[in-house]
Amino acid sequence: MTHDTAFPFLTVLVLLPAVAAVVVAAVPARLGASVQRRVVEAVGLGATLATLALAITITVRYQAGNGGFRLISDHMWAPQLGISWYLGVDGISLFLILMAALLFPLVLLAGDLRDNRSAVAWLLLLEAGCLGSFVALDLVLFFLFFEVTLVPVYFLMTGWGSGRRNYSAVKFFLYTFLGSAFLLVGIVAVAFVHEHQTGTLTFDLVALESTRLGTASQILLFLAFTAAFAVKAPVFPFHTWSPDAYADAPTSGSVVLAAVMAKMGTYGIIRFDLSLFPRAVVDLAPLLLSLGVAGILYGGIVACATRDLKRLVAYSSLSHLGFVVLGTFALTTQGLTGGVVQMVNHGLIIAVLFIVIGWIYERRGTWNASALRGLQRPAPILAGIFTLAMMAAVGLPGLNGFVGEFLVLIGTFVSHRWWAVVATAGVVLAALYLLWAYQQVFRHEPDPETAAVKDLSWREVAVVAPLVLVIIFLGVYPKPVLDRITPSVQRLVQQVDRATGTQAPAVSTGTTSAAGR
């Protein structure tokens, strides 16, 4: 827990987009519409790109090694309440930050909202909330960031969404807010128990880890925390807000919801549940593993019957996040590392899918796969990029999606064999619905209206090119990423094992003699 550096990297990372949001919101209208638009666009892009540069710097400075927290910023701000501005990054959050920071500028560039004052302001605030959630190590601070994200999404959906956007926005808001209520109660309860035991009131995660909790209270608190996270992710069966929200939000909203905010749920489970309630995690693992597997299969099955492309991707997301839940509760190094990798990979893949689907909508005015056909003929580059993202989602080795899924499944197999066996069937389902969708939208001879469609412009190619390159790179050479994630994961797994007296399977830690190395 040392202050590695004088420069408060993480504080700036969080505040930069927040301040930019205020700046954008304050751009006066009397500048005239076109000037205002240009200023908004410049500030928005500048801030998100600067944040990305900062995130890249943090990643580069983060050397593989022990798995503890780095770049700590720890400042008491309300001693009487025990709340502090406590930020830190480890292998588990590092690449989530980078992924989020990469997506925001691209989301701005991909859509047509990049010069809209309030939309850009909301997006910047959203970025601050997302990044803050991934680096906050104080429970109240985390809760704040976690909640703040609801608001921009709500306004983005109602302002620039489509379909039944008001219904979907309210549903999203109330559903996740209800989940958060449990989280808040849980946080306060943990802190009070800790205060009762030690005499200090604190919301510091590391300090709270030493709180002694009986099995029953661990389980209750675990359920309270997990309620919020399961809704946010979403975990089956708390997912029904997500197809509505993903479908009716504007492209930027869908991307952030599915790629970044969903990870706040699964990240919350890993960061808080595993370290605060290890006993409950081990005891309830079968339940959560089952929900993960159910999500994998159920999301895939429903996706097979879905015609609306955005809803189809929403259900595929449910399926892919099931792998994260599975890997997490496998409680092995491979499973958990795979889960973290899957979070990052899923974010990258689903961002490409939503962006491309948005472009299809711009060209053809529909998300209904049955109403589209033959798009590959006039738009081969668009088809090629969709194909790549699709194959990554299907889990084709050589692309990033495979790495996470394989690690999750092999890590689950060594500790909870039958869950892994059933979940492996999920890889068939992904191929089933995605290839169906591809055939509908891109194959056959195009109708006249489709035949006139323009292929991607250079600007559009430039927007997805970074994502495409990262998808390939992480599939071919994931070692630098794995080397940074694994130590933190091992630390967490050992922590759970120590607290509960369980033992990870020998093959997963490499301590078996049969490994022969």
Partner: protein, 634 residues
């Protein structure tokens, strides 16, 4: 020199990259020449590596080349690494050789196609994947190639995606394989669970650490994957549909190389397979049954490519029969010989299809030997080789497998012999229908209005297509020489022995028995030819010999549709409309309604409720954040 083995798969990969970036600018025919050049380069490298290996003593002909670490997570450590040994190099050699010929052929065959560069793009990626598959030094890297060839097959089968049947066939091929690959994945998990490694050498060093039940399970799971890739019972229906792809694709992927990957995998895992008798039984039994069933279907097909497709399924069945018997060398021998003569047959069929303006119906061909003499002359070699007429390659290869079956599983030998008769029969039927009889194609070409002063005659292929035909015909003839004992201490296939050990069953057969079995094989083959030729030369329509059940492949597609397809769709629809909408979401909305009724006072401000609430949160949060930020720097 053998340390540059990895360049073998990097060359086609580089070709893929070049074509992806500049393919459209290169265009027809330069894209094709670039692709062909990279594969030829790989072939040359394979020859050099092979020579390098042969220059070493027999015990030192296996080495691992680590390129980089791929997945290092805790106890799991997977490298991107190549295993260069006699088995992988035999595979690499014939894969690159046949690929180079088919690339050359494609330059002519695909001429004028609007996606010409893209065809070679996929083809290069395919060869790279196939080389990764055979050269991988661990199960997972092999799996990379395994999936890579699968996805290339998907793209190439659906290459003419404007046709609905082609688009569906590509998807079908991918899904069947994906289903089978579940077996591959679970087998890997089980191997890792038992041995802590996925490297072949590591697994084989710890075979004794795996309990017998797990050994059988691993072998059967891998065989499930192999049955998908190599189109065995019950997963073979996709291969017939895959004939929707351009004919060079059928020759390369769906005859010579990719579909043999399952056989290769089982051969590679031979140290494990040899320890599980139940698994050997299953492999041999399924192989023999598939050989027979597919041959019966082949007897009644009307599409020239579908006959060849079912013939491929049948020949792959023979290979699995050999694998299950423990005769791995025999399996590899037939694999190589089959690559030669089946590629020859497909390319010959492609030449016919090309010459008849895309006509594939055997009943509309006839008497083509007069019009396409070169195609006919080369086709004969493929036909007689697969029929098992001595001294062509097929006779030796099939004989080797049947001898081993005789020694180990006599019942399966009987089934195999029956299949041999059928093979000779259906191939003769095909040849007779295409090359003898009346000029039934005249109606086709007249209908196509074969204009521009052309006399409406079938045309012979250009030289780029003719050269591969001739080369493959020669190989189909002389391929049997691979088995001949050239020197007491050296036979070409004998160099595989270090990989497979001495597990050949025909070693127990006496010389006299081998002679008798060989004569039986020859007589059976000649009988098949003798029965079919007069029947099908004189008349193209013999409904009694083409029962519907065979034409429709025992109604397997209908069966799967009824048992899996439609119930699956019904389940998906039910889940989407009833479970998700009414039950899960219904419960959520129910809770919402309940809450609203309880708090009826809220109803009045309902419209602005969330909005005000949301603004309240954000304002509060901003105040808090600003406060905290100021404190943070205090």
């Amino acid at each position: 020199m053998i340390h540059v083995a990895y360049v073998m798969f990097l060359l086609p990969l580089a070709g893929f990259a070049v074509l992806a970036l500049f393919g459209r600018r290169l265009g027809d025919p330069w894209a094709g020449w670039v692709a062909t050049a990279t594969i030829t380069g790989s072939f040359v490298l394979a020859c050099i590596t092979m020579a390098g290996l042969l220059g070493r003593p027999a015990a030192g002909r296996s080495f691992t080349q680590v390129l980089f670490t791929w997945l290092p997570v805790g106890g799991l450590h997977v490298n991107v690494a190549l295993l260069v040994d006699p088995l992988s190099m035999t595979m690499a050699l014939f894969v690159t050789g046949v690929s180079a010929l088919i690339h050359l052929y494609s330059i002519g065959y695909m001429k004028g196609d609007e996606d010409y560069p893209k065809f070679f793009l996929y083809l290069n990626l395919f060869v790279a994947s196939m080389l990764i598959l055979v050269l991988g030094d661990n199960l997972l890297f092999t799996f990379v190639g395994w999936e890579g060839v699968g996805v290339c097959s998907y793209w190439l089968v659906a290459f003419w995606f404007g046709r609905d049947t082609a688009a569906s066939a590509g998807k079908k091929a991918f899904l069947y394989n994906r289903l089978a690959d579940v077996g591959f994945l679970i087998a890997m998990f089980l191997v890792f669970d038992k041995t802590g490694t996925l490297d072949y050498s590591g697994i084989f060093a710890h075979v004794s650490a795996i309990d017998p039940a797990a050994r059988t399970a691993i072998c059967l799971l891998l065989f499930a994957a192999a049955a998908g890739k190599s189109a065995q019972i019950p997963l073979f229906p996709w291969l017939a549909d895959a004939m929707e792809g351009p004919t060079p694709v059928s020759a390369l992927i769906h005859a010579a190389t990719m579909v043999t990957a399952g056989v290769y995998l089982m051969c590679r895992m031979n140290p494990l397979l040899a320890t599980s008798h139940p698994a050997q039984w299953v492999v041999a039994g399924v192989g023999a049954a598939t050989a027979f069933v597919a041959a019966t279907i082949g007897c009644a097909q009307q599409d020239i490519k579908k006959v060849l497709a079912y013939s491929t399924v049948s020949q792959l069945g023979y290979m699995f029969l050999a694998v299950g018997t423990g005769a791995y060398e025999a399996a590899i021998f037939l694999m190589v010989a089959h690559a030669f003569f089946k590629a020859e047959l497909f390319l010959g069929a492609g030449s016919v299809i090309h010459g008849l303006d895309d006509e594939q119906d055997l009943k509309r061909m006839g008497n083509l030997r007069k019009w396409m003499p070169l195609t006919f002359a080369t086709f004969i070699f493929g036909w007689l080789a697969i029929a098992g007429i001595p001294p062509l390659a097929g006779f030796w290869a099939k004989g080797d497998i049947l001898d081993n079956a005789w020694a180990r599983f006599p019942v399966l030998w009987g089934l195999g012999l029956l299949t041999a008769a059928l093979t000779a029969y259906y191939m003769t039927r095909l040849s007779a229908l295409a090359f003898w009889g009346d000029d039934r194609w005249r109606a086709v070409l007249a209908k196509h209005g074969h204009g521009q002063g052309d006399t409406g005659r079938p045309h012979e292929a250009p030289w780029v297509m003719a050269v591969p035909l001739v080369v493959l015909a020669v190989l189909a003839f002389f391929g049997g020489a691979l088995l001949l004992p050239w020197h007491p201490s050296w036979t070409p296939l004998g160099w595989l022995a270090p990989v497979f050990g001495a597990r050949l069953y025909d070693a127990h057969l006496s010389g006299a028995t081998e002679w008798v079995l060989g004569v039986v094989d020859a007589v059976v083959a000649l009988t098949g030819v003798g029965v079919a030729f007069p029947l099908w030369r004189s008349r193209p329509d013999r409904p009694a010999l083409e029962p519907r059940v065979l034409q429709r492949s025992y109604f397997l597609d209908d069966l799967y549709d009824a048992v899996v397809g439609r119930p699956g769709q019904a389940l998906a629809d039910f889940s989407a409309t009833v479970v998700d909408n009414r039950i899960i979401d219904g419960a959520v909305n129910g809770v919402g309604r309940l809450a609203r009724q309880v708090g009826s006072g809220v109803r009045k401000v309902q419209t602005g409720f969330v909005r005000q609430y949301a603004l309240g949160i954000v304002l509060g949060a901003v105040v808090l954040l600003v406060f905290m930020a100021t404190r943070a720097w205090a």
